[in-house]
Symmetry: C2
Subunit: 304 residues, 2 copies
């Protein structure tokens, strides 16, 4: 059964990469600034684990996935927003990261202006991918864009999450919910909406996966070095950010994460693909667990 | 007749300000990062001349404006994109502007991280305003978002325009078309689409107004000082940017601008409000002309 699940994820991966590649290569016949065009491709490939679009596709599959082209568009749109956030978060005025996904961060490889513009262009592209596919089902497309906007912008999306870091007094719940949880909530809701279901029912699953991911991210930040992560390590301690490892210790954080994922699985709404989806969440959990603590060997890339 | 036209513009102004204010104040009951929320309001108000949404509303009015709420949403969305571009263009890695619209630029008043996030949030907000109003007419809303995305992102929108400045060899036509023209094309096309008409027919009007605006901007940059402009002056010469004043001289550039606007007026498609719209374009032309060369006194603010 684990094998079937991996096959399914491979199928999703093919669809996700094709949809992202279509998006960034669109309209390349008109005269356009070559470096920015290249920076966009650099920002989206090679991808990390593509966790968010994989979750989106898993939920869509569990709900019947009767409009696969719209699901593909939704997955690519969500990943564009995620990539935009990575590019902007890496900027000198935020994390000033030298590396990302094992290669120089975009502003190091290109320039700071091109990093700002690549992020901006990817945000726009996310919505454009959905408008271009809206004729498949206009109501669903509008629903998808609505959730994507809510979980990206102010006052509750990832922009808000990053914005909390400029506050003297941080609402920690709102901060984590917005900074890490928002795009997981987008993933589950958009997967459901793309398949014609009510997104709101899927909010809790996304929100719990987001909490688990936050704990996993804290663990990776504490346990891995830069070469293993493909991005700078030890950033939480360095920036004095609250994190689960400082709160619970390593073993405690791992069991906390597994409990959250247990709750995530039990929150899955009744649907034809319920059992398959539970397996997916467990597979993600395995990926999120630091190698030494995994139940079996996995060669999945640990970070983004 | 000039008086009627000014009344109409005042009516548009009330609608535009209300729609923008609704958008930036939305969802302020949930816990959200206060500085970023404040930065968003700072970025959109007090507005400049609101030229782009005014053109959008003028075209919608000329086409019958049968869905005024959708027109309002479209105007606010377009202005959010314009404000986002101002905030990001002012960043230290681009123009490093100290002032904008007569007050400190956003990154000077708040911080560079908040300026990046405010720009990002405004881009998202633009699309969100339209998805929130999509139920008025889903097809038109999708059409509006499609044009807005095209004229904002890559390869032809304002992001592409700014991206050209990182190229060693600039395609000047594509550069001006994208950097300045794109949001005017968005303005005329979105005005038509909001009122249920075919956007493509209105491309030329937007594109010509954009050309005229570029010449006017070159004139202002050359003729005004920072206090008059509300932003740094003499930037074209400083950055060695090609500009109409260097090419034609001052008087030559003014007559070039008026010729382009003549072409703009003659490109207006047949519609009930054709004559009114021609007056609007002339009113905009008056605003674009440096004070000393205007045909009559006007106290409209010259810059943004």
């Amino acid at each position: 059964m684990a094998f079937e699940c991996e096959d399914e994820i491979m199928g999703f991966s093919t669809r996700i990469e094709a949809a992202i590649s279509d998006a960034v290569n669109l309209g390349q016949t008109a005269p356009s600034p070559a470096k920015l065009a290249s920076a966009l491709r650099y920002a989206v490939s090679p991808g990390g684990a593509r966790i968010r679009p994989t979750i989106l596709m898993s939920v869509a599959a569990a709900c019947g996935d009767d409009r696969p082209e719209l699901t593909n568009a939704a997955a690519a749109a969500l990943e564009c927003i995620h990539c935009a956030s990575l590019v902007h978060d890496d900027l000198p005025c935020f994390d000033d990261a030298e590396t990302r996904r094992g290669k120089p961060s975009l502003h190091r490889a290109y320039s700071e202006p091109l990093a700002v513009l690549a992020g901006d262009s990817l945000i726009v592209m996310a919505f454009q991918i959905l408008t271009r596919h809206a004729s498949i089902d206009p109501q669903r497309a509008i629903g998808l864009m609505n959730i994507l906007a809510e979980q990206t912008g102010m006052p509750n999306g990832i922009c808000a999450g990053q914005g909390w870091e400029s506050e003297q007094k941080i609402d920690l719940r709102a901060y984590h919910r917005a900074k890490t949880g928002a795009l997981f909530v987008a993933a589950t809701q958009m997967g459901a909406i793309a398949a014609g279901q009510d997104g709101a029912q899927w909010d809790e699953l996304g929100s719990r996966i987001g909490e688990a991911f936050q704990v996993a991210d804290d663990l990776r930040d504490a346990l891995y070095n830069e070469a293993e992560l493909g991005k700078p390590a030890g950033q939480d301690d360095l920036h004095g950010r609250p994190n689960a490892v400082a709160e619970y210790g390593i073993e405690g954080a791992i069991s906390h994460m597994k409990n959250i994922l247990g709750g995530a699985i039990s929150s899955i709404p009744r649907c034809p693909g319920e059992a398959m989806l539970a397996k997916m969440v467990n597979a993600q959990a395995e990926m999120l667990t630091p190698v030494k603590w995994r139940s079996k060997h996995s060669n999945l890339h640990p970070g983004e």
